[in-house]
């Protein structure tokens, strides 16, 4: 039995870029800033492609929700080895209000439409750090979920997933179909090779609208304000331990 895999990839601000908050505190500056694929999603795509190479999966479909620029991200996924891509086109205005619940609904709908066996997404996106999409998708589909996977193996009709938990590693067995979210140490994403980049340019990208999938994009959460983290205060040098103790007492720390 070979599986059909759906991978979610989000377009986020590249992690090497310094983030600047908008002056009106409604969000961060995204115009003219370099974007790339969410690193955890990159790991998810890599894992899906590896599953295909190990003949566990038969087809890998990459999905991205967002404005037309999200197609770049999908091309990257295709260049890494995905077979097909679906672009759920969202108006830039709506996209600023889009939340994990909407993405989960879209993913759930697509998983049913495309007869998907495994959904793999990154554990969280580095821009909102929500860590909700995988869990909510599993809930909407009523499928088992294996979050924070650091190793995925096929075990008969099941998948054996190793998870990173506080105390160490936990291995669970999930029934198929299932939803998996990838952790950092699942794999190291490959570089897209030139022939694959060239091929990716010719692979198809399906375009869909949230309305076609029956998803309403009205926001459920309101963002009150976005602010910079506090600037670290300058330190001071002390001459000896006595002075240090005096200073700490002065500050009321001891």
């Amino acid at each position: 039995m070979s599986l059909r895999v759906l991978v979610g990839c989000k377009r986020v601000i590249d992690y090497a870029v310094k983030i600047r908050v908008k002056p009106d505190k409604t969000g961060v500056v995204t115009d003219g800033v370099k974007h790339s694929m969410n690193p955890f999603d990159e790991i998810a795509v890599e894992e899906a492609v590896r599953m295909k190479e190990r003949k566990i999966a038969s087809e890998v479909i990459a999905v991205s929700c967002g404005p037309s620029t999200s197609q770049e991200t999908l091309r990257t996924a295709l260049a890494m080895g995905a077979d097909k891509a679906i672009h759920v086109e969202v108006d830039p205005k709506d996209y600023s209000n889009m939340q994990p619940i909407h993405v989960s609904k879209i993913l759930a709908k697509l998983a049913k439409d495309e007869k998907i066996d495994v959904v793999i997404v990154g554990k969280q996106a580095i821009d909102d750090d929500a860590n909700q999409t995988a869990q909510m998708t599993a809930a909407f589909l009523d499928w088992p979920q294996a979050t924070f996977a650091s190793k995925i193996e096929k075990d008969g009709d099941h998948l054996k997933v190793t998870r990173e938990v506080d105390g160490g590693l936990e291995t669970i067995k999930v029934k198929l179909p299932a939803v998996i979210s990838s952790d950092l140490r699942l794999n190291e994403p490959r570089y897209a090779t030139l022939p694959n980049i060239m091929k990716a340019k010719k692979k198809p990208i399906d375009k869909k609208k949230p309305v076609d999938l029956g998803v309403d994009l009205s926001p459920k959460i309101e963002v009150i304000s976005v602010e910079d983290p506090p600037v670290r205060e300058a330190g001071a040098k002390v001459k000896d331990v006595d002075e240090l103790l005096a200073k700490l007492k002065e500050l009321g720390r001891i």
């Binding site: 590249d14 992690y15 090497a16 870029v17 003219g32 370099k34 790339s36 694929m37 690193p39 990257t76 190291e188 490959r190 570089y191 897209a192 090779t193 030139l194 022939p195 980049i197 060239m198 340019k201």
Partner: protein
């Protein structure tokens, strides 16, 4: 004949036969009597054509003069003349120090003597030079001996030609500059160079905060004849910024103010101690970039970059600092401030003096301010790593890239498999694929579509022709950083091998990789761990490196100095972008003609008559100043 006849007659015809015989013989011997000569006989001349310079005939001609005394007699005593010129000036210099104010030393007034000879007594210097020859001869057997000797030789020269730093000097600096700007203890990090090969023994570091400070320091040092070395980020690979002996270190790190930036023209004015990365970030906010980029950008300072004419990664696109530096402020050796601060790109008024200071390695003056032209930041960037079979493929790729992507190329780097292995072994990075030669190309443009289209065309043709074996490219910043890390990590990784022999050379492209292959063959059965190369192939610049577990004289003997001669024979340069410093200064003649070096010396003398600025760097040691 008549005499003979008479003689015989008196003997009463005793022997008529004898007479006849004699007559007959005389008859034959008579030259004029041609009747009996069988052939014409010429007069024989001894040593024909040679006129001896000595007297040939008889006794020497006698002198008629009676006044000349015979040789065996004692000469008469000449009355001494204490007022002739020679007697009159005898010993006059002995008292100069006592009579004057102590400023003038005897060695200073010596004329027509090389500067390093002044102050040496008798044949002391000759002995030193003879020792140099001996130790050079044994340099492979006793390398440590030569190194120690060289050092002591420098100390000898320094102690004779410069004054010693005394406590009063330090107090003077504390008074004029303030206590925070003077450092006298814990100076190891200032004395040792980046590769930990050269170490000076300076006992004073000064941190000037303004041009005025630098001017004060230099005018004081010039009157006291104290040597100085200017230090920036100390990232020189030829130890140009660390002292040889006990020079004062002038550390520019506190002169780090950015003075102005013009948003429309991209002209940046800053002090010379600004760190390159800070400048890059600063102009980045205004959507500009610095016209050059170095691996050492985190610590190198713009003043040092200008003084060494650093090239780095963006050279292929924006050219050298000679093109991009518009103005400089320089403090001369005697403390005069030379203002060359022009922010005009076109300025044809007189000699372009600032160009002299660019690449002077701190031997002509101290750069205190820089005006530099920054190009606008390209909006879209792509980094491409290609896997190639051979260096020949790389050349055809370079040619193709120049014709198809010419205006977009901002870096074109070569990495060979050995260099990649270093990064893999020592830094645990993973390259995307295996190859004999890697080409790392950075492209930047403002229009992404145009670049993407050209790039696709380039890649498709490369693959179709079979030149490109494999490859990857990306415009994601984190992927680009990962790819660049493979190239920028090489120097660091090489140091982890143990000892690294570094060569930075320029070579014509047809000989470019030949050097590496030749050396690899030569060093095969030695203790060398790796022979690898990488470099800016777009600018014909090769970084050739050999590593071994520790310093091996055998390995060095096989490389140096043949490598320099080999390069010189093929029209290359022995130092492409690292400069000469104190490691390569004695090889300058392999790249520059004798006349050019003479002019360099006269320039040095003109700008710095007391030779206090960065002594022993760039210009060859044992040369008449």
């Amino acid at each position: 004949m008549n005499i003979l006849r008479n003689l015989l007659k008196t003997n009463a015809n005793r022997n008529v036969f004898a007479l006849k015989a004699i007559e007959k013989r005389n008859h034959y011997n008579d030259v004029n009597n041609k009747e009996y000569l069988p052939f014409e006989k010429k007069k024989y001349e001894r040593r024909h054509g040679y006129t001896p310079h000595y007297h040939t005939k008889g006794l020497l001609p006698r002198v008629k003069d009676d006044s000349v005394l015979p040789l065996c007699s004692i000469p008469q005593r000449k009355k001494p003349d204490p007022w002739n010129k020679r007697e009159a000036i005898f010993g006059q210099n002995d008292y100069i120090d006592i009579l004057g104010d102590g400023e003038i030393k005897p060695h200073m007034i010596l004329k027509n003597v090389p500067f390093w000879l002044r102050g040496f007594r008798g044949n002391e210097m000759k002995t030193l030079q003879r020792k140099v020859a001996i130790f050079r001869h044994f340099r492979w057997l006793r390398p440590q001996k030569l190194r120690c000797f060289n050092r002591s030789r420098f100390y000898a020269i320094f102690s004779r030609n410069y004054n010693k730093l005394v406590r009063d000097d330090v107090e003077h600096f504390v008074k004029t500059l303030g206590e925070n700007s003077v450092k006298t203890d814990d100076l190891d990090s200032y004395n040792e160079d980046w590769l930990s090969v050269h170490k000076g023994r300076s006992s004073l570091v000064l941190f000037p905060k303004s041009t005025l400070d630098v001017s004060r320091i230099l005018s004081y040092c010039s009157t006291r004849e104290l040597p100085l070395v200017v230090q920036g980020g100390k990232t020189s690979l030829v130890a140009g910024s660390v002292p040889i002996s006990d020079e004062i270190i002038l550390c520019m790190s506190k002169m780090n103010k950015i003075e102005s930036f013009d948003d429309t023209s991209g002209i940046l004015q800053c002090q010379s101690g600004c760190i390159l990365q800070n400048l890059e970030e600063f102009v980045g906010q205004h959507q500009y970039i610095m016209p050059y980029d170095l691996g050492a950008k985190g610590s190198c300072q713009i003043g040092g970059n200008v003084a060494t004419n650093a090239a780095g990664l963006r050279f292929i696109r924006y050219g050298s600092l000679h093109q991009n530096v518009l103005g400089l402020e320089v403090v001369g050796a005697n403390g005069t401030v030379l203002n060359l601060m022009s922010s005009m790109r076109k300025d044809n008024t007189g000699y372009d003096l600032k160009q002299l200071f660019i690449g002077s390695e701190g031997t002509l003056g101290v750069i205190t301010k820089v005006i530099i032209l920054c190009p606008p930041k390209p909006q879209y960037k792509v980094v491409m790593l290609l896997s190639l079979n051979s260096f020949k493929c790389l050349l055809s790729i370079l040619k193709e890239a120049k014709s198809k992507l010419g205006e977009f190329i901002s870096a074109f780097e070569m990495i060979d498999f050995e260099s990649m292995n270093v990064v893999v072994d020592n830094l645990k990075l993973t390259p995307p694929f295996e190859a004999n030669i890697y080409a790392l190309i950075e492209l930047s443009a403002n229009d992404s579509n145009l670049l993407e289209a050209q790039l696709t065309n380039f890649v498709e043709e490369g693959i179709a022709d079979g030149i490109i074996k494999d490859g990857t490219y990306s415009s994601d910043i984190h992927v680009m950083n990962k790819l660049w890390a493979l190239r920028e990590g090489i120097p660091e990784a090489l140091l982890k091998d143990g000892y690294c022999y570094k060569y930075d050379v320029s070579l014509p492209l047809n000989h470019y990789y030949e050097l590496v292959e030749l050396m690899r063959e030569k060093l095969r059965s030695t203790k060398a761990v790796r022979v690898c190369s990488f470099g800016h192939v777009g600018d014909f610049n090769l970084h050739f490196n050999v590593t071994s577990k520790q310093f091996e004289p055998d390995v060095l003997r096989l490389i140096e100095p043949q490598i320099y001669e080999w390069i010189s024979d093929r029209g290359g340069s022995i130092s492409a972008e690292h400069g000469l410093g104190q490691r390569k200064n004695n090889y300058i003649h392999l790249s520059k003609s004798r006349e050019a070096i003479e002019i360099m010396f006269s320039l040095k003398k003109l700008f710095d008559p007391k030779l206090i600025l960065n002594p022993g760097k760039m210009l060859p040691d044992w040369k008449k100043a």
